[in-house]
Amino acid sequence: MWLTSRLFQSYLRRFLLLWIAGKIANAATASIVKLPPLAFRPGTELIVCAFEVAVLVAFIRRANEDILLGNIGLRVSVALAPLVLLHFALSLALSLFA
């Protein structure tokens, strides 16, 4: 139900943009220190993912949408948990293709 809702889809769109921005920044940093730019490095991915989620949570709190989520019994962390999985899945897939 939550995953098919329009609200989750709007968060998914914003998160994908954040993932692209995070990936570009990560790849640029890796190139500077002469590492493969699109390689999957779990520690780095965790830090980038935490940053992406923090930005999205800030957007949600600023719009008081955490109250909307609260009124349907959802914690923000639970609502956004699928996006964490998505981050790692996308990053892993990209590293395999690269």
């Binding site: 809702s5 909307l68 609260g70 914690r75």
Partner: protein
């Protein structure tokens, strides 16, 4: 039901709330009335766990809650309507009803007229009515509403008052905050007066002159 007991909040050495008490009773409309800045919103935020008090406790059905939170309380049947917009502006009102999994079956607040418009395009009054209509659709056991009449024209205020009365008649414990002390006398079954961060339950608030029990009222 929900109660805040001996709630104390200090900010920069100043007491915002001083051992404040408020509760909601099933089937009754309880109103917390006080001037703007009296601490009503702070007290409501503590009840739903959005702010931690320096002292006191929140109870649900008599049970002390160590860490109350809105999602936890909502799963127990609470609906919280804060004093600021809280719907997703990119979604329509219909999307919100779908999110709740509750169809709009009782359009007491006339929200059908703008059901398929984006929330971000609604006027302040339409937005407020949509938020309240969502609360009605949830059929909560406790409704906590911070200034539900703010920004509404008189006809809409009557509609909202009737909707709150209907909720109470269905057994919901309605607790709302307002600063319009004269109008709450008509709506309230129970009334807490809040002044300088302290609350007290007022008996006979309909019959007694305002200045007797509401010290902020000019004599």
């Amino acid at each position: 039901m929900i109660a805040g007991d001996s709630i104390t909040v200090r900010l920069g050495g100043r007491a915002i709330l001083q051992s404040a008490y408020v509760d909601a009773v099933p089937g009754k409309i309880t109103v917390l009335v006080g001037r703007s800045g009296a601490g009503k919103t702070t007290l409501f935020e503590i009840l739903v766990g959005r702010r931690r008090p320096d002292g006191g406790q929140v109870r649900w059905n008599g049970e002390q809650m160590s860490r109350p939170s809105l999602p936890l309380l909502a799963r127990r049947g609470l609906f919280y309507h804060p004093d600021r917009p809280w719907l997703a502006t990119s979604l329509t009102a219909a999307d919100h009803f779908a999110l709740l999994g509750r169809p709009l079956v009782d359009d007491r607040l006339d929200t059908t007229a703008w059901l398929h418009r984006r929330v971000g395009d609604l006027s302040g009054g339409e937005l407020r009515l949509t938020e309240l209509a969502l609360g009605l659709a949830l059929a909560p056991t406790v409704a906590l509403l911070d200034e539900p009449f703010r920004g509404l024209e008189p006809r809409r205020r009557e509609q909202v008052a009737a909707a709150l009365r209907l909720l109470a008649e269905r057994g919901t414990a309605v607790l709302y905050a307002d600063h319009d002390v004269e109008s709450v006398r008509r709506t309230a079954d129970r009334l807490f007066s809040m002044e300088q961060g302290a609350t007290r339950l007022v008996e006979g608030f309909r019959e007694r002159p305002l200045h007797e029990w509401y010290h902020a009222w000019p004599r």
